[in-house]
């Protein structure tokens, strides 16, 4: 996800055209990652509410996708497929049948799991009408990704600002109106099925040709590139200024978790304590993305690490908030 966003930002800065086959392979990798991430999240959500059958079954379904990733890219999780200008490995024709077969199995099994848990009243008691955030509040807190889509907001970078091969493939935005945790489960499961559809279409429509652009020209310094990618959790934005010696002069990544975390106080307000973990878990948080902020004063060279309290105080000062969030 992040490597795609970074490479696209540099490609935009240097005006490099990625070959069509490279763009399709990028989509295949992104969507395989989305499938495994959503299934992983389903398992974790089941584990948080004490329903470990979902954890075991979701992770069992997920495992063949990981093996597939390993076969295509050489690693299970850190795919390392992207380079500025294209992708590193081709998806050979010999692997297509196996890919389609695994996808068919994942589709069948996740549909079966969805059908099984859809009528489970113990599960629904924990998920329905819990962690509610209204569409207006979602917009006010700028929630992203499946969390926003479960509140009835049709927002998806793949459709709004299409990149890679999404203009050719098209993509349906999965929106649910429930605003609760159950809607987030449904959005993610429906997105998994949509991702399977996208990988199938990408395999079918993938043209032949090179996977890397001609990279013999050096990347000019001082150019600006901005790129957005729809990660499983929401939008990822990367901003790059190219520098001397083919290295970035400045680079800023913005992950979706920090935005989504802003909605947590509203989601858990008035809920039981036992609903707080699943309320937090329902947006698939990644805390390493949000830990702290460090600023460097260019003139004096002073490095300052901002603590949580200082950041909150600054946020409140900027937005004119008096009372604690």
């Amino acid at each position: 996800m992040h490597s795609t966003a970074y490479c696209q930002a540099v490609e935009k800065a240097a005006e490099i055209e990625v070959p069509a086959r490279g763009r399709f392979i990028r989509v295949i990798c992104l969507e395989l990652e989305r499938i495994q991430s959503h299934l992983l999240w389903l398992g974790i959500a089941g584990h948080i509410i004490g329903f470990d059958t979902v954890l075991m079954q979701a992770w069992r379904i997920r495992e063949p996708v990981m093996w597939l990733c390993e076969k295509i890219t050489g690693n299970r999780k850190l795919l390392g497929m992207n380079l500025v200008g294209g992708v590193r490995r081709d998806v050979p024709r010999g692997i297509h049948d196996e890919l389609l077969e695994v996808l068919a199995r994942v589709e069948k099994e996740s549909t079966a799991v969805l059908a099984a848990i859809a009528g489970d009243i113990t599960l629904k008691a924990r998920c329905e009408k819990v962690g509610v955030i209204s569409p207006e509040e979602s917009i006010a807190f700028a929630l992203l990704g499946p969390t926003a889509r479960a509140s009835g907001i049709s927002i998806d970078i793949r459709v709004d600002h299409p990149y890679a091969a999404y203009p050719e493939l098209g993509c349906e935005v999965m929106v649910e109106q429930g605003c609760d945790i159950w809607s987030r489960v449904l959005v993610r499961l429906r997105e998994t099925l949509e991702a399977i559809r996208l990988v199938r279409d990408a395999l079918r429509m993938m043209p032949d040709g090179p996977i890397m652009a001609d990279m013999r020209q050096p990347i000019p310094p001082g150019r600006i590139g901005l790129s957005s990618v729809e990660a499983p959790r929401g939008e990822t934005h990367h901003f790059v200024i190219t520098g001397e010696e083919q290295r970035p002069y400045r680079w800023k990544a913005r992950a979706p978790t920090f935005q989504n975390l802003q909605g947590i106080p509203v989601m858990v307000a008035g809920e039981y304590i036992a609903d707080v973990p699943i309320g937090l878990g329902s947006m698939d948080p990644c805390f390493s993305c949000t830990e702290r902020l460090e600023t460097i004063d260019v003139r004096s060279g002073e490095v300052r690490t901002w603590s949580r309290e200082e950041l909150q105080a600054l946020y409140r000062l900027r937005h004119g908030l008096k009372e604690p969030l």
């Binding site: 059958t53 075991m56 079954q57 093996w67 390993e70 850190l78 390392g80 099984a116 009528g119």
Partner: protein, 163 residues
């Protein structure tokens, strides 16, 4: 209510046990083309420093000491991206299928090699033979002084840009 419990039970019972007794028994095989721990063949290395140039986590250090080129691989920082193996013009770095690199001794993940090089009579820099240096597609990363030769920012070994 009961119907969904039956459905769940059927999913569980139709897929009994899928885990392996690893590490007490054999685990599953890794796929062909797996990017595992890197292996460095010092006899093929020409000390060009291309791997040090592309390594995203900067774990390969390459610098000259007298008539030697000193190379260090600090593998505890390795992300297994395999760029070094991809750009190596001599095939000295290969990705093995090893993934069990956990250790209680950090020096297990440290490779050091010293390459005896020829020295340029005029400038005192190390190099191998002229032919070998012609084959180098990447710019050399050196401590303090950068060898400014032909530059090839993003790989494609074997090709080189006219400098």
């Amino acid at each position: 209510m009961l119907k969904s419990k039956f459905k769940e039970a059927r999913i569980c019972f139709s897929n009994l046990r899928v885990t392996l007794p690893y590490p007490f028994g054999p685990g599953s095989e890794v796929a062909e083309g797996f990017r595992g721990k890197i292996d460095v063949d010092a006899s093929r290395c020409i000390g060009c420093g291309g791997c040090a140039n592309v390594c995203p986590s900067r774990l390969i250090r390459c610098h000259d000491e007298g008539d030697q080129t000193h190379m260090e691989f600090i593998l505890d920082r390795c992300t297994y991206c395999g760029r070094c193996a991809e750009v190596c013009p001599e095939g000295a770095i290969t990705m093995t299928l090893l993934f069990e690199s956990a250790t209680d001794d950090k020096t297990d993940l440290y490779i050091e090699q010293q390459l005896y090089m020829l020295t340029c009579k005029r400038c005192g820099r190390c190099f191998e033979t002229e032919n070998a240096i012609d084959r180098i597609p990447t710019r050399r990363m050196r401590k303090g002084r950068n060898y400014v030769g032909s530059s090839m920012p993003h790989g494609a070994p074997g090709e080189r840009e006219a400098s």
